[in-house]
């Protein structure tokens, strides 16, 4: 798209390519998607901050049960509003080329609902509730499930998953990379 190409200087494109895992074509494509979220505002100033509701209009995010967490984690101001660079960062982490350790870090941040750098039992409960949608699990099954997860992953038995434990467990799961991926 001719218009988007002239929206960036060579230097900016270079920086983006160096610091993210996206190619030039992908970066321009991401800009195009960002532009369609709110064309007027982005036309005026490409560094505008879009509100969380606008970002969640993206089809891939709209159906995602963790869309608010994703916006909060990648937003540089921490309140869910994202600039284009935050958006680009998000697409970079979700791209194919991002290495596993980067994806694991952001996955941990997304699933850490209370943002205390540990995944607690209540965080897990929230994750499962979001995943099952409207029909929630019974109390008994939920407790069973959380116990099972802690049994598998919680190595120091403190009823919290630290980042190290999370990474230890998730890096082993070969399907993680496949599922933690958004392609625009």
């Amino acid at each position: 798209m001719g218009g988007s190409h002239s929206a960036f200087t060579e230097q900016e494109l270079d920086d983006y390519q160096t610091l993210t895992y996206l190619t030039k074509k992908e970066i321009l494509h991401v800009y195009k998607r960002f532009y369609t979220l709110d064309p007027e505002k982005v036309n005026l100033d490409k560094n505008v901050k879009l509100a969380m509701d606008d970002i969640q209009k993206l089809p891939e995010l709209k159906v995602n049960p963790f869309k608010d967490r994703i916006c909060k984690v990648f937003s540089s101001s921490g309140d869910g509003e994202m600039t284009f660079e935050d958006f680009l960062d998000m697409m970079s982490v979700f791209s194919d080329q991002a290495p596993k350790n980067v994806k694991v870090e952001y996955a941990f941040r997304i699933y850490d609902f209370d943002e205390d750098d540990m995944i607690s039992g209540s965080d897990l409960k929230e994750v499962v509730d979001r995943l099952t949608g409207e029909q929630n699990l019974s109390e008994e099954d939920m407790q069973q499930l959380i116990d099972n997860i802690f049994m598998e992953a919680d190595l120091d038995d403190d009823e919290f998953l630290s980042f190290a434990e999370f990474e230890h467990v998730i890096s082993k799961a070969p399907d993680f990379i496949n599922s933690f991926r958004i392609r625009l």
Partner: protein
């Protein structure tokens, strides 16, 4: 556990200031060291006490860090140029990606599990294109563009060749219906086409002027080498493709312990963008969670019930019976395929079209073995699914076992077909000097073309079934589910995109291709066309007709299983081909190996024309001493590698124990700290 953000991308600098591992906590760019220490002293158990979790700064900060870093300008330019080059290559390879846009839309609709099927299809497409190019350039192009030389009269077997070639005549019908049917049967004008082995002659081709030296293209030798080369390339490409998957599964070893974690944290497919399918997925998620928890309960109940010896024995008896039943089914299937094949060849020998039998009837009976194989491949897996309920296995094991039995069924049906052809035609004596059958054996003058024809019919039926299933079963079910409001229809629902069944179909088709391409060099080309049509048909099915699969598809693990099946199928199919090359006398009236004792003798004969040194080298290399020691060295390497794997797994366990102990130590120290600070405060 220090990680350095995005610095593996740029070699210039890291963006958080730390570059090496150290025992002290990571200095977070937002929190100073002192404050961190104070925080760890306060210890609410919630905070990550040693601050081992380090958050990557956002992109805008990384950009400003990059600009402020100001290392030598030239150093940056150098690494920048290299990085630019890499990025340019990546850009190019991305634009060239085949069917990339289609795969993305399928992923948005159905998720990554279904996409893995299409990725495998694309990889098979690439493999077959390579095979097709090799056979085309080495086998077909010379025949198309150059005239083949006549056999020289000085050849010892010349008279035999002459009579046999004259004997081998194919009746070309002028009836349009017969010509149309011939396309599907592989007889008539198809038999005399480039498709089958029988078309090619065995002499060489002179490229360039005959009177001057020119270049003599030894056709039989090239044909043989092309076949062997194709097989080696297939092995190489399969090994290449599966090595990364194997590495991950071998090194991780403890994958089976992470069921629930994987299910919860890898449970949501982020690439889904279709709203309806997303709802289906979350409904399925609950269903799967429930069924896994039920599995646990079921296991516990079953173990409780099984305490008594009586019920345990009963269950084992049932399992043995079911397995015996499965074996009987497989044996029954094998027998029916064998007898159908024998019946078909005998019946068509007696009732030919020329003798007055109806063309359509002959057509159907010719196709009978392939039809029987396809019907059995479709029906028996359903029977297995019903029967496996009696065995009381957990859901996961049920899936694996049914898959295994289906694989066994498909591959063995192919093997039985080959064996029946072998018994019925190839090893049927007496044969005349031209190696065509006489008297009691079914009438076959060129047995290689006959094998090619049987496999060709199988390819056609397989293709018709795959495409037919989409249009006859899946689309109507979707239409019914959308329009019709009967309860039964609603309960049945639209068809599911069953990934294992589809992948097994691909593997089956590819094994037919491998089995047949020696007897019909254009098989890879046919298979390429077949794959293109299947891709678009299945894409339509995935986008419009099918609902996403019920159980989450563990792509990585199941993909390596299918790779193993593919490799197994390859070796199974190699064997008949190698046997035909090395141990069966070729027909002398058709094909490129006429006149030779066995096809592989072309190689020693050509070696004999090389200078003495080469001959000596060849003799030494193929002598028993060298090959035996080579095999022994390979076995030693294998033993060594498997021992290394065991060692790595042990080391993995030790490291994990160490990690656990360190956490316990840390917990102990923190508790001490708490007690001390508590005392101080008081």
């Amino acid at each position: 556990m220090n990680r350095i953000g995005h610095s593996d991308m740029a070699s210039t600098k890291s963006y958080d200031g730390t570059t090496k591992e150290s025992a002290s906590p990571v200095s977070n760019t937002y929190i100073s060291e002192a404050r961190l220490r104070r925080k760890s002293m306060m210890v609410t158990e919630k905070r990550d006490p040693l601050g081992l979790f380090h958050k990557t700064p956002p992109l805008s900060k990384r950009i400003s860090d990059l600009h402020n870093s100001g290392k030598g300008e030239s150093y940056e330019k150098h690494s920048r140029r290299w990085i630019k080059c890499k990025l340019a290559c990546k850009n190019i390879s991305q634009t060239l990606e085949l069917w990339g846009g289609n795969l993305r839309s399928i992923e948005g609709h159905q998720g990554t599990g279904v996409v893995s099927f299409f990725v495998l299809l694309r990889w098979l497409f690439g493999l077959n294109i390579v095979l097709c190019l090799i056979t085309f350039f080495f086998v077909n192009v010379p025949v198309i563009f150059f005239n083949e030389e006549v056999y020289s009269t000085s050849l010892p077997a010349y008279s035999l060749l002459q009579t046999c070639t004259d004997n081998y005549n194919v009746t070309l019908s002028s009836d349009p219906l017969q010509q149309f049917l011939d396309f599907f049967l592989g007889t008539g004008w198809m038999e005399k086409s480039y498709l089958f082995y029988g078309f090619y002659t065995g002499s060489g081709i002179y490229v360039g002027d005959k009177s001057t030296v020119g270049f003599f293209y030894n056709f039989p030798l090239v044909y043989l080498l092309a076949v062997v080369g194709c097989m080696l390339i297939s092995v190489f490409m399969m090994a290449n493709h599966s090595v990364s998957a194997f590495r991950k599964s071998l090194l991780s070893g403890e994958v089976t312990n992470m069921e629930y974690v994987t299910m919860i944290f890898c449970g949501w497919d982020y690439s889904l963008s279709d709203e309806r399918n997303a709802q289906i997925k979350s409904r399925n998620f609950k269903y799967v969670l429930n069924s896994d928890i039920q599995d646990q309960k079921f296991l516990r109940q079953r173990d409780a019930k099984m305490k008594s010896c009586g019920s345990r024995c009963g269950l084992y008896m049932i399992r043995i019976l079911v397995n015996v039943f499965v074996i009987i089914c497989l044996a029954g299937a094998a027998c029916s395929i064998y007898y159908t094949s024998v019946f078909s060849s005998e019946w068509t020998a007696k009732n030919t079209v020329a003798g007055g039998t109806d063309r359509i009837l002959v057509f159907i009976v010719e196709f009978l073995p392939s039809i029987v194989i396809t019907v059995l491949n479709a029906v028996l897996p359903l029977v297995f699914e019903l029967v496996i309920q009696l065995e009381h296995y957990t859901q996961e094991f049920v899936i694996k076992l049914s898959l295994l039995r289906t694989v066994f069924l498909k591959l063995s049906s192919l093997i039985i077909l080959v064996i029946s052809i072998y018994q019925g035609v190839i090893s049927c004596e007496p044969k005349d000097a031209c190696r065509s059958t006489i008297d009691t054996c079914p009438n076959v003058t060129c047995w290689e073309t006959y094998v090619g024809q049987e496999l060709y019919k199988l390819v056609i039926i397989d293709f018709v079934v795959i495409v037919g299933k989409v249009f006859i079963v899946e689309f109507p079910r979707r239409l019914l589910a959308n329009k019709c409001s009967w309860r039964v229809i609603k309960w049945l629902g639209p068809a599911e995109f069953e990934i294992p069944v589809n992948v097994l179909d691909l593997v089956y088709g590819q094994s037919i291709c491998w089995l047949g391409f020696y007897f019909a060099p254009l098989f890879p080309a046919i298979y390429v066309i077949k794959l293109i049509v299947i891709f678009y048909t299945k894409m339509l099915s995935a986008l419009y007709a099918c609902a996403p699969p019920n159980r989450p598809y563990r792509a990585a693990r199941t993909n390596s299983f299918f790779m193993i099946v593919l490799i197994l199928a390859f070796f199974l199919c190699c064997f008949p081909v190698i046997y035909s090359i090395a141990n069966v006398e070729p027909s002398h009236g058709c094909g490129t190996f006429r006149g030779t004792l066995f096809p592989y003798t072309v190689i020693p004969d050509s070696i004999a024309t090389l200078p003495n040194v080469a001959q000596q080298a060849y003799n030494i290399l193929t002598s028993p001493a060298v090959t035996a020691s080579f095999i022994i060295i390979l076995l030693l390497l294998l033993y060594f590698c498997s021992n290394m794997r065991v060692a790595y797994q042990k080391r993995n366990k030790i490291l994990r124990n160490k990690f656990e102990m360190e956490s316990r130590d840390r917990q102990y120290i923190l508790n001490q700290l708490k007690r001390e600070t508590g005392k101080n405060r008081v």
